[in-house]
Symmetry: C2
Subunit: 137 residues, 2 copies
Amino acid sequence: MIVRKLKEIRQGDKNIKSDGWESARLLLKDDGMGFSFHVTTLYTGAELHMHYQNHLESVLILKGNGTIEDLGTGETHELRPGVMYALNDHDKHIVRVENEILCACVFNPPVTGREVHDETGAYPADTSEDREPALSE
Amino acid sequence: MIVRKLKEIRQGDKNIKSDGWESARLLLKDDGMGFSFHVTTLYTGAELHMHYQNHLESVLILKGNGTIEDLGTGETHELRPGVMYALNDHDKHIVRVENEILCACVFNPPVTGREVHDETGAYPADTSEDREPALSE
C-alpha cells in the first residue's frame, strides 16, 4: 500500500511548476499502477492550448471555474466543481481559467514525471523499455 | 471528448448504492480510457473490509476523515483531505469512517459497472471478451 499526502508532495520534487499551472504528482509510472494520478492547479487567467497525442487523460474539477474548448467540434463546455472531462480521442483543446482551478487528473499510460509539454502541447511518448502499464493483459 | 457532471451521474443508474457507501461512476470500462474513475461517498460510521483481488485502486480523500488499516502490515493510516492511498499489491484493508468521506477513485483495469463486491470484499475479474484496457500495448 502506498500512502502519500498532497501537502508533502507539493513541497518536493514531484510538484512540477510550468507556465500557467502546477501539478503535484501523487502517482507516477514507477508506482506500477498502470496510470498516473495528479492534483493540478491552473492559475487564474491562464489559457492553455493542449494536445496529448500520446496519452488519454481525465480531469475532475474540484475548485474554481473556467471553460474548455474542444477544437475538434468547436464546442465550449463550462468547467466548475463536479464537472469531469475525458480526452478519449487525443482531443485538441483549450482550457481558459476564470478563477484558479484545482483538479484531479488521471493519465493513461502513466506519466513518468520526466516529461515536459512540447511545442504542440503534448507530453512525448514514453520510450523507456518497460513502458507497459502494470495490468496490461 | 466526454464531458459529464457529477450531479447528473448521481441522479442516474451509474450511481451505485451499497452497504456503507455509494459511488458515482464518471468513467467506466466502456468509455475506453483504460481505467475507471469514480466519486465515492463513505458513510459516517461505516467499517468497510475490502480486498480487490482483480483490480489496482487509488483513492484521493476530498472531504471527511477516518482511517485505513493495512492488514498486511498491521499499520493504520489517517485519512483526511489531501491523503491518497494506492492499493498497488491487492492489499487487504479496512476503512473506518469517522466523518462522511468523499473521495475520487481510479480502478485499473476499469470497472464495468456491473460488478458487486463478493463475499471476500473483491470485485470479480471482468470475464467479458474485450477486457483489454484501451491503451494496452
